[in-house]
Amino acid sequence: MARRSHVQTTLNGETVEFLCEPRQSLLEVLRDELHLTGAKEGCNNGNCGACSVILDGRLVNSCLVLGVETEGKSVETIEGVADPDKLHPIQDAFLENAALQCGICTPGFIMSAKALLDENPNPTEHEVRYWLAGNLCRCTGYDKIVRAVLDAAAAE
């Protein structure tokens, strides 16, 4: 077995250190080593977006990043989105619009929506739909999710 590597990264604004094998994805490190289970494993091959996180300001699929690649980088996950006593406007908008049913895809959608609004605070519906094309939801039919993101953009 390859030696476990020591990795130091910034996770939701705080410095964290962990040990991982090179073959462990960032998703596996988050869930199994750091016990942050917000990012979900859906397809594990980059199609579904349930594991979406923000790496150095860019939306990525954490199943397609190795944990060792995050040395010296900054990772944002769903766990860092809300303030301790207040939800993020995107989270509020998801609740208001009932933009979730089973909830498995929701952390990925919220991270993806956050990355969009960080870059483009006033997206069109078309832009929202294309941006979110890499996040799959099998419950809602997407329309409520798109409305929620547009509402969040209007609210921010």
Partner: protein, 292 residues
């Protein structure tokens, strides 16, 4: 996932020495959107992953109106389409980088990785071919350059020999009155693999009525992306007309050697080559005319 070792190389000589020493058991890691899935699904046996993203040369994204574009092998798609000057100069490259996967894939994946993965259906390769890209390869014996149309040799196979790695792609300055276009057919709007892809670059005369030269390339209709050389040559010196474009499309269809698979039949793909070649040519011509 299978066990492997990870090394973040800091320089090209370091990466080349590692590749030379480890041979077939080593693989370059750039965006990882193909490689990590292939290793996880046991479709590729890798003992060493050599991460090149800390090497300055593979991160170069430099466009200069006098010398053209240097596109480092690890530059992610999102950086390419964020650059207005590159969007203006090489629109077919932009068409492709905006449709390779979704947003999260475009945050990691790059055209260099798309090229080295050597999928017959790669969206990033037809634009490189029509834009006359030259692939800069570093190896144990120094550097060499290979035209984009010669880079892929079979599905998943490239001209890279033991110890060699792709450093960058060099794309010449576009001629005046030229433009390019890439499109693909997929049954969805987004997030799919091309049933057929077609790219075209055209250079028109000053009156924008006559085609001085053209280049056409196809994806997903042969074991590698194809440069439709004869179809391209047919257009040189022709007036812009449906007849000329139809003749080029027919010549492109003649070199397509598609298979039937879950994405489409050989018959459908051959038909699509004609349709998409016409649309790519007309799209490129329209872009030339709109730019002035």
């Amino acid at each position: 996932m299978q066990d492997f070792s990870y090394i973040a190389a800091k320089t090209i000589p370091e990466a080349v020495a590692l590749l030379d020493e480890k041979g077939e058991s080593a693989r370059i890691l750039a965006g990882g959107t193909d490689l990590i899935v292939q290793v996880r699904e046991a479709r590729r046996d890798v003992d060493w992953m050599i991460d090149i993203k800390s090497i300055p040369e593979v991160n170069v994204l430099d466009y200069n109106a006098a010398t053209g574009l240097t596109l480092g092998a690890a530059v992610e798609c999102y950086k390419i389409y964020a650059d207005d000057a590159i969007c203006d100069a090489y629109p077919s490259l932009i068409d492709a980088t905006k449709i390779i996967g979704g947003t999260a894939i475009q945050g990691r994946a790059g055209v260099g990785g798309n090229l080295c993965n050597a999928s017959p259906a790669a969206d990033g390769i037809p634009p490189l071919i029509v834009l006359n890209a030259s692939c800069v390869i570093a190896g144990p014996n120094g550097e060499r350059e290979v035209p984009a149309e010669d880079f892929c040799t079979a599905p998943g196979q490239t001209v890279l020999a033991k110890g060699e790695m792709l450093v960058s792609m060099k794309i010449p300055v576009p001629a005046s009155n030229s433009s390019s276009y890439y499109l693909r057919f997929i049954p969805r709007n987004e997030m799919d693999i091309a049933v057929v892809g077609a790219g075209a670059a055209v250079t028109l005369d000053a009156a924008q009525e006559t085609i001085i030269s053209a280049r056409i390339a196809l994806a997903a209709v042969a074991p590698t992306p194809l440069f439709a050389e004869e179809a391209s040559a047919l257009l040189a010196g022709q007036e812009v007309s449906d007849e000329a474009i139809n003749a080029a499309a027919a010549a492109a269809q003649a070199i397509a050697r598609p298979i039937s698979d879950m994405r489409g039949t050989a018959e459908q793909r051959t038909h699509l080559v004609g349709v998409l070649t016409r649309r790519a040519l007309n799209g490129a011509i329209q872009r030339v005319r709109e730019a002035t």
